[in-house]
Amino acid sequence: MKSRSLSPTEAALFEAGGPRTKRRIAVGTAVAVAALAALLAWVVYRLYINGQFAPMYWSLFGDPKVWGFLGMGLVGTLRAAFGAGAIGLVCGLVLMFGRMSGIAPIRWLSIAVIEFVRGTPTLLFIYFFFLVPAQFGIHMSTYWMVVIPVASYASAVLAEVFRSGVEAVPIGQKEAALSLGLTRWQMYQSVVLPQMFRIVVPTMVAQLVVVVKDTTFGYVVTYPEMMQNTKVLIANYNSLLPVYLVTSIIYVLINYAISWFARWLSDRIGLDFEV
């Protein structure tokens, strides 16, 4: 995790210059501002000449029902994200123990599962749960069609995150615990895992961003999350670009907030740990 302020290396790149450098920076700043303003003006102009500012495209946002429907989508997104996150947490721990097991076949199986799930697109898994159980006559709700694939991916990634966390706990701690007569299980439970979680919490929170992004595939199975509800809104109102724009901004804001929280946690814990 990076801190928001300039790093020492970045700060060294531009320390106070002389009058000529200052002048050049001033010119550069003026040019950059002009270029950015021109870019913004071009975007606004494109929107304008295509009539995208017409009130008819935006009036739906004055309707509380529209916001209510988007809000319901957001609730669906969060339900799927937290469900998948919780399952990912538990299965990730199980996979981590399997991955670190002393019994070789269990370790191999865990490695195979982790590599397989991590290397496969989540969308492929979603199509799998969308199409295959139905072929065997098994009925699944759309919630689980989204949550199981998203949770699987999160489990595989978290298993590796947890493993690096366990490896980051000093070996002396484990040796001390064992020499005090703790069993392996007691050692993990009361010495290793509490420290491991402290180390990996920021990375875990950051992983939630991926989970939120993956829930957008609810669109495929018509699970009512925000992307799916956006599609429904567009079908019912005569407005396309503004609705997609608003939804995209909401996603960016949510994920930005999660990333910010992860960075804050990481700064607070004061450990520089990245997987």
């Binding site: 550069g28 295509n50 990333s259």
Partner: protein, 227 residues
Amino acid sequence: MATHQSLWGSLVYLLAHYGWQYVSSYGVALRIGVLSFLGGVALAFVLTMLRVSPIPPLRAAISFYVEVFRNIPVLALLIFIVFALPEVGLVIDYEPSVIVTLILVASAFGCDALRSGINAIDPGQVEAARSLGLTFFDIVTSIIMPQALRTVVQPMVTLFISVIVSSSTGAMVPLAHTELTGLVNQINTKDALGIPTFFVAAMFYVCTGLVIAAFGRFLEKKVALCR
């Protein structure tokens, strides 16, 4: 197709009837992945140079760009490009749309990776370079970037794998040449072959990822810097 067949039997049937289509769809996935990665890294390079430039509005604009494209879901961005941009007269064909989407996202992640690579360089090196009279451009191109690139091998390899995996998002739009995930969906709509169709496609993705990861480890050993 009948489900009474053995798993092995349906696997053989699948490869006999769709084997070639798998290979060509895999080719499309690879093409989208490689082009997006190359474009993304090239753009990330330029963005990173601008992000560490001494011009505050440029730094702010690039930070904004990175935050937006790091945090937007790939699917939301793809749908925006495919369905919303034509509303303002920007019509991009499906496959280029997927590539543009992935370039935007990959460049944001690549920019962050390069920036961490820069931050791993001792500031004393920059000060030394400046005291030798090198300009900002010289410092960035001959001191910063060569070292930053060596330290970002691992994040770049991870990015490459994730871009190839993300090419599966192309299944959401009607591509002229279907990519791998879209092909699996098509086969299952025509011919309910079930589990093997998915397994074969997944193995293509997984093996590609493992090969790239192995190459990455080799490359990292080769260019590693001793600090």
